[in-house]
Amino acid sequence: MAETITSAKCNALIIGGSAGSLDVLLEIFPGLNADLNFPIILVTHRKSGNESLLSDLLQSRTTLRVAEVEEKERILAGKVYIAPADYHLLIEEDKTFSLDYSEKINYSRPSIDVTFQSAAEVFKSGLVCILLSGSNADGVEGLKAVNNFGGKVVIQNPDTALMPYMPLQAVTNIEDSVVLDATEMADFINKLID
């Protein structure tokens, strides 16, 4: 199932979320098509320890392979990657992952900004980023970079988000974005398949 990334309209999908985003992920995953031709990368704020909990939860809801990122791992289409707790996740020019244990950004490690920004520079117009529920402003600066490099920005509708602050910051600050309810997201993602 996993194939090398080819140039399609979506080369990578990154979902960033904080407080209140788990419910959205659990809503999205059962609806995803099994033939995704791009990777999905998840960056969520969570405590370290219980490493496999999130991947187990999501794996039980999809046939796509879900796993925590390994350092220097090659990014393959059709796989779901989870940023490990307590490291920033960066994307290299050769489409591999790097981890970074530098200072927290927005009180967060992994920081959604760091991954969005780094991926924006690599995937450019082939990148789609979704920002979900949360109660800090992480992700907004990163989404600006995604816009600047020609990528697509999707934001969870703050009116229906459990924690509206983070998506609201994004809606306010990002000019070019699509706003969706959690229930609409799986469908949106499936339509990105080329």
């Binding site: 350092e71 960066l90 290299e92 780094s118 600066e141 600047n148």
Partner: protein
């Protein structure tokens, strides 16, 4: 600023300058990470043009010290990953305790938190008196801090929790004295440490050890450089000695990984 402060071409130019003018080779560092560090420094120090930034790094020796300190990551913790220290305490160090003398290398020790954690465990196992911890880093400024053994007091609550979770059973506060905003760690700990600069990219093996700790350093290196460093470690570890890496690092893709056996679930390997 969100646009790339430093692009890939400029990064290449800077890293070549640094190698030529200062002798530090960052060309095989993971690009995404070092690019982010350099872009961050560019913004932080309010440079107005790449040319000015480049010239300052090339020609200003004082600024280069800052550059070196800022682009290398020096975030560390005492007893980080308590289960790792539990494995050291219960499985690795008791084995080394059977040797007449224990030599340990903490490679990329930064400000010393891991070396002090290790010294505490050795002390509690009654092995510190016959141990020597070589703590090295590429960056002389962080080694100055490490020698002092003074860490911000506001971190000590977290460190103390980590320590207890790692099977530490003493009162953690007996290891330091609070001095204004700093905790000064007992000199009996640093008395068994030797601090020295060492560059994993360009310097050679300098001794043989029974244990090498190099945690969350290799994540900043590309695969080829990681393999070179594993070779360096291999030539610095005695037979049946141990190599300990960070929780997301692995020996697995190194061609000679078969000559090592991993200890259970921790990122600790034993040389066969």
């Amino acid at each position: 600023m969100i646009n790339e402060a430093i692009d890939n071409e400029q990064l290449e130019i800077l890293l070549n300058d640094v190698l030529e003018n200062h002798g530090y080779d960052f060309l095989e560092y993971s690009h995404a990470s070092i690019k982010r560090r350099i872009s961050r420094l560019y913004a932080l120090d309010n440079f107005v043009s790449f040319a000015e930034f480049r010239y300052t790094i090339k020609s200003d020796k004082q600024y280069f010290k800052r550059f070196l300190e800022e682009i290398t990551v020096n975030v560390t913790e005492m007893f980080r990953d308590p289960s790792f220290y539990r494995a050291l305490r219960n499985e690795v160090l008791p084995v080394l305790g059977t040797y007449p003398f224990i030599r340990i290398w903490v490679a990329g020790c930064s400000t010393g938190e891991e070396a002090y954690s290790l010294a505490i465990v050795l002390k509690e196992l009654n092995l510190l008196h016959k141990s020597l911890i070589y703590a090295t880093d590429i960056n002389p400024l962080v080694l100055e801090k490490a020698k002092k053994g003074m860490f911000p007091l506001n971190y000590l609550k977290q460190y103390s929790e980590n320590y207890l979770q790692s099977d530490g059973s003493k009162d953690f506060s007996t290891y330091y004295t609070a001095n204004y905003s700093l905790a000064k760690f007992d000199e009996s700990l640093s008395g068994k440490m030797i601090f020295s600069t060492h560059n994993l990219v360009s310097d050679h093996s300098f001794n043989e050890f029974q244990l090498i700790l190099c945690r969350n350093v290799l994540i900043y290196f590309d695969k080829d450089l990681q393999h070179k460093v594993f070779n360096l470690f291999d030539s610095s570890i005695e037979k049946l000695g141990y190599l300990a890496l960070g929780s997301k690092e692995s020996l697995d893709f190194w061609p000679r990984a078969k000559e090592y056996r991993r200890i259970k679930t921790e990122k600790i390997w034993r040389k066969l």
